[in-house]
């Protein structure tokens, strides 16, 4: 090391607080004078370093996203030219007055009106102009892909309007939820119409990211606003959550979109179920632990093993069970678990959970229709012997399930993959437990990379997602004790077991 190196390194160490001048002088006594002089010069510059105010830092961060989104797509940049085209509309579309106003606003002297309307909120004078100009854009967006993207953007815009209204202390418009649902439904319809699998996948991922962010933002807003103002926000969060559910199922099993799921359908999730038990038969109908799931429609990559314990998730629509997840589980004998919405009982007393008949219950009282339940027990001769009845998830607790992709070096953030989309989430304030409540250290998450985790209590503030709680499978404890390194974690994607009974869907 030459002199310049030694002096430079010493100055660095001193300024970073890793060493004192005395330490350096002791190490290099021959350079003491030079070091003192140069350190004094370096310190005098270093002391001039301005300190950023935390208030500014926080304020500026919130302002970044108040304007436009990143680089508008080329098609959107042609907006002004495109907006002139409504004058040539000849396909019989009825042009409302507000649309004409929007066209006038853009084409004529009213550019300012159209521009000013973009920041207007529901109930304000210029809001109809804003909506009309959006409709004009939609009318002249041609491809399903660009229509889907524009609708996704507009759904996000409706949520942002709700946020602005709430922050200003105004009541959120009662039409927000319907508008969000309408745009999300348009996204789903356009995705369904696409022939290109890759583009569909990408749009489903975008639907997933957007709807999760919308829910997390609204959830934070609900936490910060008085209860009297929650109704419209809750309706909107419900619409976004249904959009998220559609994305998750469609990502795993695209044929679900053929059933025309609608975010506007408030009963959409009432047939979402999770069922775990020994797979007794697997034809068109499946028998899991004595419970029959009719007309099973599996994802392409699903693998299963008759005679093994399996966990499936999916949604029932139009008499078909669209499965989104199939996994093998550790043997637990004949125990059956089902989670879903209690739909009531038939005249024979047979209970229906998310549209699946589970038999006559024994060992539990009556549940109220429409409530979420988790039942554990055994099925014997058409009777479901309940050993445990739990309430389902808290409504509007934003919950996502996905694969843990990465834990940051300082352990403060994780990346989770949901429906093909990767989300970065702060876990600074999160608690980590196994499903049965065993508390884990956040640093344990590193060993669980690649495994499925559940985040609940997800909120978003200033564009950052914050996890409330993180749940990992009880089987993950085996991973923490080193089993994961040998590839023998308790929970595996279905099909990792070998055996004569293993099947793979064509």
């Amino acid at each position: 090391m030459d002199k310049s190196d030694i002096v430079t390194r010493c100055i660095d160490e001193i300024l970073e607080g890793k060493a004192s001048l005395e330490d350096c002088v002791r190490r290099y006594p021959g350079l003491a004078d030079e070091m003192r002089d140069l350190l004094a010069v370096a310190e005098s510059i270093h002391q001039q370093r301005p300190v950023i105010s935390p208030q500014f830092k926080s304020y500026a961060r919130s302002r970044i996203f108040a304007g436009d989104s990143p680089a508008p797509l080329p098609r959107e940049r042609q907006g002004v030219i495109g907006w002139l085209n409504p004058l040539t509309l000849t396909n019989g579309i009825r042009v409302p007055v507000a649309v004409l106003l929007a066209v006038f606003a853009v084409a004529g002297s009213g550019v300012t009106i159209a521009y000013a309307s973009q920041s207007s909120l529901p109930g304000e004078v210029l809001y109809p102009v804003k909506i009309s100009s959006e409709n004009v854009r939609l009318a002249f967006t041609v491809t399903p892909e660009s229509k889907a993207k524009l609708n996704l953007e507009l759904a996000g815009r409706r949520v942002e309007e709700a946020v602005t209204q709430s922050v200003r202390g105004q009541d959120v418009s009662g039409t927000t939820a319907q508008a969000v649902a309408r745009h999300l439904d348009a996204v789903i319809k356009e995705i369904e119409s696409l022939d290109n699998e890759e583009k569909s996948k990408s749009l489903i991922s975008q639907l997933s990211v957007s709807t999760i962010n919308q829910q997390a933002t609204l959830s934070q807003l609900i936490a910060e606003t008085p209860e009297s103002k929650h109704a419209a926000l809750e309706e909107t969060i419900d619409a976004s959550r249904r959009g998220s559910t559609v994305a998750v199922v469609a990502d795993a099993n695209p044929s679900f979109l053929e059933s025309a799921p609608s975010v506007a359908d408030i009963r959409l999730e009432e047939t979402y179920f999770k069922l775990e038990g020994v797979l007794q038969s697997a034809g068109d109908d499946w028998n899991l632990g004595g419970i029959t799931v009719k007309s099973v429609n599996l994802p392409k990559a699903a693998r299963y093993s008759v005679g093994s314990r399996m966990a499936v998730e999916g949604i029932i629509r139009n008499g078909r069970a669209f499965i989104s997840s199939v996994k093998s589980k550790e043997d637990k004998g004949n125990e059956v678990k089902i989670e879903g919405v209690f739909g009531g009982a038939d005249p024979d007393g047979v209970w229906y959970i998310s549209g699946i008949a589970i038999g006559r219950p024994q060992g539990t009282g009556q549940a109220s229709g429409g409530t979420k339940v988790k039942l554990t027990g055994l099925v014997q001769n058409g009777v479901f012997v309940v050993t445990r009845l739990e309430a389902g998830d808290t409504p509007r607790d934003v919950k996502i399930t996905g694969k843990l992709i990465e834990v940051s070096r300082n352990g403060d953030t994780i990346v989770i993959e949901v429906a093909g989309a990767r989300l970065t989430t702060s876990i600074e304030k999160a608690e980590v437990t196994t499903d049965s409540g065993v508390k884990l250290d956040k640093s344990d998450l590193r060993a669980l990379t690649g495994q499925e985790i559940v985040i609940s209590g997800l909120k978003s503030k200033e564009g950052i997602l914050y996890a409330g709680k993180i749940y990992v499978g009880d089987e993950s404890l085996a991973s923490l004790s080193g089993a994961s390194r040998s590839g023998d974690s308790g929970e595996k994607e279905a099909g990792t077991k070998s055996g004569d009974d293993e099947r793979k869907r064509d």
Binding site: K3, S4, D5, V7, T8, R9, I11, L15, D37, L38, V41, A42, S44, I45, H46, Q48, R49, P50, I52, S53, F56, K57, A60, R61, R63, I64, F65, G67, D68, S69, P70, A71, Q206, V209, N213, E406, S408, R409, N410, D412, T413, V415, R422, L423, T424, T425, S426, S460, E462, G463, I464, L465
Partner: protein, 184 residues
């Protein structure tokens, strides 16, 4: 999030992921603020310009091309352009002419004046260094960049940057010494 790579965060931000861009903001806002502040010497102006740097970067994130230049270098280019615009608008070409040094509420006028004097003297001394030496000292001690970042931004090896820094400090010591002598 603070530890995820810039590349990953940029890629995510380009898809519209605000949290990823917010992480980039958190990572670089102080460096950009210091860089701007040194050049405009006014807290309010430095804050306005810093905010504008990130607003522009967010809007243009899809146009950022990962090549030789680091993300922070890209931000610095935006910052420099905005500082130039700022002075053009105010018809102030000489950065060192600006005496508008802010004070904090707990600073007495005497101390503030002394600091301003020291600051100006130091700035004048630094401005007498060769351009490259000025850049290295400012990037290292004011902006707070690492050697690796400076080496990428100035396209020189880290070893060379250390040597330049050492020589710049020696030169600065001489300049300050001369000025002290001439001041009596």
């Amino acid at each position: 999030m603070a530890q995820l790579s810039d590349d990953l965060l940029i890629k995510k931000a380009a898809t519209g992921d605000k949290s990823a861009f917010a992480a980039l903001y958190d990572r670089y806002v102080e460096q950009i603020y210091r860089h701007v502040y040194y050049r405009v010497s006014c807290q309010a102006d430095a804050e306005d310009i810093t905010q504008e740097v990130f607003i522009r970067a967010w809007k243009a994130i899809r146009r950022y091309q990962r090549g030789e230049a680091l993300f922070v270098s890209w931000l610095l280019v935006i910052a420099r352009n905005l500082v130039t615009d700022f002075y053009r608008a105010r018809k102030k070409d000489d950065l060192l002419e600006d005496k508008n040094i802010p004070t904090t509420p707990d600073t007495s006028p005497e101390v503030a004046l002394e600091r301003r004097f020291e600051k100006d003297e130091l700035r004048k001394a630094i401005s007498k260094l060769k351009d490259l030496k000025q850049k290295v000292l400012i990037m290292r001690f004011i902006d707070g960049f690492s050697y690796s970042e400076i080496s990428r931004a100035l396209r020189k090896s880290e070893g060379a940057i250390r040597v330049i820094q050492y020589r710049a400090l020696l030169d600065l010591r001489k300049i300050i010494g001369r000025e002290e002598e001439s001041n009596g």
